[in-house]
């Protein structure tokens, strides 16, 4: 199902939470919305679920408007941040819940009847098998670990085969090690399901791993949307640049014309341009022909060495060097960049490094 969000606005009382948000969720793809806390991403999810109703704007599912359609008729599945498992029901009954409600869908085209008991059992089993819950079906939610609860929540949401699956920071309640393990499983599972997915997170690695389509939200507005690597390589604002990973942003102001020389490379910019040059730490390398810099700090991270360098002009540059190759603090090195043409972020006036 293709989902279209048109200039959606929402406010709690007089506090605007979302303003003029427009989005397109590609059919069968995973759209990840990332943003800091308070950016309105969970509100957007609740609007899509129909748990909240927008002040302005429209939501369309496959071209049909569903803005006012109540949740129970929207054909969506939701995985809540707290999982919201029914404590009085077993895992089996939790998963079967959505199969027995006899959902009347908003569009007559896809309306369906209550499935038979046999179908319910088969579907519960399918969902349980998909998530490896076969042995836990008779347990209560309180008898499950956090990771197991998370899988039950997902099984419950996908069992009715919704056209749109919404996940609200589904991994944030898990500890770091488990989160990393589940993240990869979840990515392949969501791809296997092949349904349209809307996934909310504040974790950049999670976003990069899962997203087909990445949307960055800040202060209730869409800052940038596109392919995840595009956003990482070619952010339009310093906020996006630094939110999606560590970034060196070198302020540039072109007074005259011709190639502008910066500490990290030369580039041709029209006269009067103002903005920042983006160089990711992994693109900084030792270069005998490059600029001289002093190492002020160096820390082995395992996968790479994290090096802080001070340029002669006083600017600080963060670099990721291959493991155990970094020079000692205090020593001088010459550095350059790996990329031939560093990305330039134009200062549109409003954007500030966030």
């Amino acid at each position: 199902m293709k989902v279209l969000v048109e200039s959606l606005s929402f406010s709690y009382g007089r506090e605007p939470v979302l303003s003029d948000v427009s989005l397109e969720l590609p059919e069968g793809g995973i759209t990840v919305v990332i943003g800091p806390s308070g950016s309105g991403k969970s509100t957007l999810l609740q609007l899509l679920a129909g748990l909240l109703h927008p002040g302005q704007g429209r939501i369309l599912f496959d071209g049909e408007e569903v803005t006012g359609v109540p949740t129970e008729r929207r054909d969506v599945g939701v995985v809540f941040q707290s999982y919201a498992l029914f404590p009085h029901l077993s895992v089996r009954e939790n998963i079967a819940f959505g199969l027995k409600t006899g959902r009347r869908r908003f569009s007559m085209r896809s309306s369906r009847r209550r499935p038979s008991r046999h179908t319910v059992e088969a579907r519960v089993w399918d969902a349980a098998a998909l998530l490896g819950l076969e042995r836990l079906l008779d347990r209560r939610p309180s008898q499950l670990s956090g990771g197991e609860q998370q899988r039950v929540a997902l099984a419950r949401a996908v069992a009715p085969r919704p056209a749109l699956l919404l996940l609200d920071e589904p991994l944030s309640a898990l500890d770091a090690r488990l989160r990393r393990a589940v993240r990869t499983e979840l990515a392949s599972l969501l791809r296997k399901l092949g349904i349209t997915v809307f996934y909310v997170t504040h974790d950049q690695e999670e976003a990069m791993l899962l997203a087909d389509h990445l949307v960055v939200l800040n202060e209730g507005r869409v800052v940038q949307a596109g392919l995840p690597l595009d956003l990482y390589r070619r952010p339009e604002t310093p906020f996006v640049a630094s939110f999606l990973g560590e970034a060196n942003l070198v302020a540039v102001a072109v007074d005259g014309k011709g190639p502008e020389r910066t500490a990290l490379g030369n580039l041709v910019l029209p006269a009067g341009s103002r903005g920042w040059l983006l160089v990711r730490p992994e693109d900084v390398k030792e270069d005998p022909a490059g600029t001289e810099a002093t190492v002020t700090d160096c820390r082995g991270m395992g996968a790479h060495d994290r090096v802080v360098l001070l340029l002669d002009g006083g600017a600080e540059v963060l670099a990721h060097f291959p493991p155990e190759s970094a020079p000692a603090p205090g020593s001088k090195v010459r550095i350059g960049t790996r990329c031939r043409k560093p990305h330039f972020l134009k200062d549109s006036g409003a954007a500030r490094t966030g």
Partner: protein, 270 residues
């Protein structure tokens, strides 16, 4: 779709109206009684002692004149019961959550049992079983039976919502157990302790079952005196006495609500 929201709003309005109606129904008899006290109407019946009282101020003077002694008694009982209930209940409530010991769960679950014991039965068995204790303290013991459980629950809930790491932080900063209790735990539990004190006050002030059974001519609390006034005095006198009873209860209840006293429901057996 709009219709749904309209329906939901209507449902909400109707619910609020029903709740307000319930509150009114509960307040109406009190309002009527108050009106009776001030208009000196006769809605009660044949009893006539005090019907000669001329005006409203004189009516209250009359009530205080005949029942002043029982008011003092009630005050003494409350003054003994409130601190005792806190001293017995609060440390135990904290211990159940923070320093569990073998049998503490059982003890905690037994805390609410006294509330299910009929007051008459408890009062009677106190008289029968305990010898050599002055009546006043027997009566106070009866009141404690119905108030200590409230303290255990109120303070217990407050301890539960208190992050144990706050106490751990104080310990890590070098505060000993006593200092942690005095400078961290007690100040944080203060609202719950005040709430408990108010609850104990309200329950003890209104307690009738045990008080009436244990009452002697010299040991009569105000609620027990209310019974006498209802059976012997004229309606205006009875109504005025009722208002005197309510005078300290209403501010206490408002304070309880302000402090979030949801535990009040397990009040004394009526």
């Amino acid at each position: 779709m709009r219709a749904r929201r309209v329906r939901r709003r209507l449902f909400r309005r109707a619910g609020i109206a029903a709740t307000a109606a319930l509150a009114l129904a509960l307040l109406a008899p009190i309002a009527i009684t108050a009106a009776g006290a001030f208009s000196r109407a006769e809605w009660y019946g044949q009893r006539s002692e005090g019907s000669e009282v001329a005006d409203t101020p004189a009516l209250f003077r009359y009530v205080l004149g005949i029942w002043g002694g029982t008011l003092v008694r009630s005050g003494q009982v409350v003054a003994a019961v409130v601190p005792l209930a806190l001293l017995i209940g609060a440390p135990a409530a904290w211990a159940f959550r923070r320093r569990p010991f073998p049998g503490s769960r059982l003890l905690e679950s037994a805390a609410l049992v006294p509330l299910a014991v009929p007051g008459v039965a408890l009062g009677f068995s106190l008289i029968q079983a305990v010898e050599g204790v002055p009546r006043f303290w027997l009566l106070a013991a009866g009141h404690l039976a119905y108030t200590v459980p409230l303290v255990v629950r109120t303070v217990g809930n407050a301890v539960e919502t208190l992050d144990p790491r706050i106490e751990a932080a104080a310990r890590s900063l070098g505060a000993g157990p006593a200092e942690t209790a005095a400078r961290v735990t007690l100040p944080l539990l203060l609202p719950a302790l005040i709430l408990s004190a108010l609850l104990v006050f309200a329950v003890s002030w209104g307690e009738f079952n045990v008080s009436f059974l244990l009452a002697t001519p010299l040991l009569q609390t105000f609620p027990a005196a209310l019974y006498s006034t209802y059976t012997t005095n004229s309606f205006p006198v009875a109504a005025a006495a009722t208002l005197v009873f309510l005078a300290p209860v209403v501010p206490a209840l408002i304070a309880i609500q302000a402090l979030g006293g949801e535990e009040f429901h397990r009040g004394l057996p009526a």
